[in-house]
């Protein structure tokens, strides 16, 4: 590339994007259509430049960046614990998971221990959040394909999960409940009853969605053999999460590199081989059932004990201690004014988010603010397969494909 990169794709003449579109567009044979940032089905602000031959899609050029928030740079300007507040908003359907991976990175860097009760509650909340995220996916995906009532049912179930999250952290969505060293505070007494109640009613609800969609003739025609992703392509393009598992590669970070006690829970990783939209739908439905299974085991085995580490260099002391111990006051003062300072070095921590591998690369230079935080977000990487799987589909199928990769624009643009 020797010249200026194509400056204004918004009003680009054909010359500037010539390298991206096929020869037929230059001849005028095909139409270039802008599926703009605001559209009924783009799950957020995503702009797609479509090259169409009639109704068939020849090429898709995604244009992202409409939700770029500068979170990575902003986190460098805040202390570690204040930066944790911003982590919720990256993938806003998986808020607990974002906090989780950030805290795993900080704990790895600082060599901080996490008590077993905190680990178990982290697992429960992460799996609940996974179910909530898949419910939003299912609702919006079905809405795109025309099944509007599934949307209403999914959001009804989501209210149970949001009630549980609100019970723990005070906020429905952006709780920042998981902190380095454990949790913010212990779960209230109503937590266990609420979770058990949810586990009792939810499997029947998944059966309801199954009955509505899985054997539905229209749904089958619209999703089977659409958007086939081969396993070689998936690995080449670095795809992780349900799209990878639906193409036949059984890779789940919860099994491959378990964290926070996942090795003690018994669950299967759903995999299918067809790699089309229907396979991804089945994988995610099965993941919801497996999440219920994991939460059941975790809540049955929930140990007693503290929920935050005792390391006072990173975790503030309980307020009752401030009245009696001078060290507690000094630790409290240092944590509140300067913040904690992990040792110099860089680590990478990754979890399995509902969308794929969510990772944090954290580099510290010994100061109380992170020197560099990079978020390896699954949607940014998975988005690149959209041009690959949408060759030769109709425009209506393209809408289904955006939904099936399960893209959250906050994840893509950070």
């Amino acid at each position: 590339m020797d010249q200026q990169p194509a400056a204004t794709l918004s009003e680009a003449s054909l010359d500037e994007i010539k390298h991206l579109v096929s020869n037929r567009a230059i001849e005028g044979d095909t139409v270039l259509l802008n599926m703009g940032p605001q559209h009924p089905s783009t799950h957020g602000v995503l702009r797609l430049l479509l090259e169409l031959d009639g109704e068939t899609v020849i090429n898709v050029i995604p244009d992202v960046g409409f939700l770029h928030t500068g979170i990575e740079k902003n986190m460098e300007a805040k202390t570690y614990i204040k930066a944790a507040v911003m982590t919720d908003r990256i993938d806003y359907l998986n808020t607990v998971g974002n906090n989780f991976v950030y805290c795993l990175a900080v704990e790895k860097l600082a060599d901080l221990d996490v008590p077993p009760r905190a680990q178990a509650i982290r697992v429960i909340l992460t799996e609940l959040q996974r179910i909530a995220s898949h419910l939003v996916w299912l609702g919006t995906h079905a809405l795109d394909l025309g099944a509007m009532s599934v949307f209403l049912y999914c959001f009804r179930e989501r209210e149970f999960i949001l009630d549980i999250l609100e019970m723990c952290s005070g906020q429905r969505m952006m709780g920042t409940y998981i902190r380095p060293g454990g949790l913010w505070r212990d779960v209230p007494v109503e937590f266990e009853a609420a979770v058990r109640n949810f586990l009792k009613i939810f499997p029947a609800r998944i059966d309801e969605y199954d009955a509505l969609l899985t054997k539905n003739a229209i749904f089958l025609v619209r999703t089977q053999k659409i958007g086939v992703l081969s396993p070689e392509d998936a690995l080449d393009w670095g795809v992780t999460g349900p799209p990878l598992r639906a193409s036949g590669v059984a890779h789940d970070l919860r099994k491959a590199q378990p964290y926070s006690g996942y090795e003690q829970y018994d669950f299967i990783v759903p995999t299918r081989t067809e790699g089309d939209t229907y396979a991804r739908y089945l994988v995610r439905m099965e993941e919801m059932r497996q999440s219920v299974h994991i939460i059941q085991q975790a809540i049955d085995k929930l140990p007693f004990g503290p929920v935050r580490s005792n390391n006072r260099k990173y975790v503030p002391p309980p307020r009752a201690e401030l009245a009696s111990s001078m060290e507690a006051v000094i630790h409290h003062f240092k944590l509140w004014t300067e913040g904690f300072t992990p040792p110099k070095g860089s680590v990478y921590a990754a979890v399995e988010s509902p969308r794929g591998e969510l990772g944090v690369y954290l580099e510290s230079d010994g100061s109380p603010k992170p020197y560099r935080v990079h978020w390896r977000t699954p949607s940014f990487v998975n988005m690149q397969i959209l041009p690959v799987i949408s060759k030769g589909v109709l425009v209506a199928d393209l809408v289904a494909l955006i939904g099936t990769i399960d893209i959250v624009l906050g994840d893509v643009d950070r």
Partner: protein, 170 residues
């Protein structure tokens, strides 16, 4: 260290003059920019590191040599391993050979490197800005780029801030 990982690390050490470091159980290799494409090709082909997890950079301004470190992370699903690679770069307009031919998803990662850091990837088919607007000047994640925040409104700058919000009704 796992034996497969050990053999991969040893091969890279002798073939491409890589330096090994270990921190908190993670293995990292430091390579020179000229060697990175061949090293990635070896990792992808011979040692079965199929997935490129991430490719990003760290800016060490005002330190000039090196100013940037480009960080790669590759995963092997077959042997369940993860390996980090680091490439130091000097100067204000650095370039790095693109690994798009080895790992296809480096495409958007390297576009982000250009957009956020100004690091050009040689051999990249489509180097354009990806996250910032098309006509933006500057590379935001560099340390000498300001955060660009709005100051807290006191009485001395209240008018200046209000002028920026022309549509606010009383």
């Amino acid at each position: 260290m796992d034996e497969h990982l050990q053999s991969a690390v040893d091969a890279l050490k002798e073939r491409f003059a890589a330096q090994v470091s270990e921190f908190r159980g993670e293995v990292g290799l430091i390579l020179l920019p000229e060697r990175i494409v061949d090293a990635c090709r070896a990792l992808h082909g011979e040692f079965s590191f199929e997935l490129l997890s991430e490719e990003t950079a760290v800016d060490y301004w005002p330190q000039e040599t090196p100013r940037f470190h480009v960080v790669y992370r590759v995963r092997s699903l077959r042997y369940n391993l993860i390996l980090g690679l680091q490439v130091p770069l000097n100067g204000n307009a650095p370039t790095i050979p693109s690994i798009v031919d080895v790992y296809k998803n480096a495409n958007w990662f390297e576009r982000e490197l250009w957009d956020m850091f100004g690091i050009r990837a040689e051999g990249h088919p489509d180097l354009r800005r990806i996250l910032m607007p098309y006509d933006w000047e500057g590379h935001p994640l560099r340390k000498d780029y300001p955060l660009g925040y709005e100051e807290v409104a006191f009485s001395f700058n209240q008018k200046e801030i209000d002028d920026r919000k022309p549509f606010a009704k009383e």
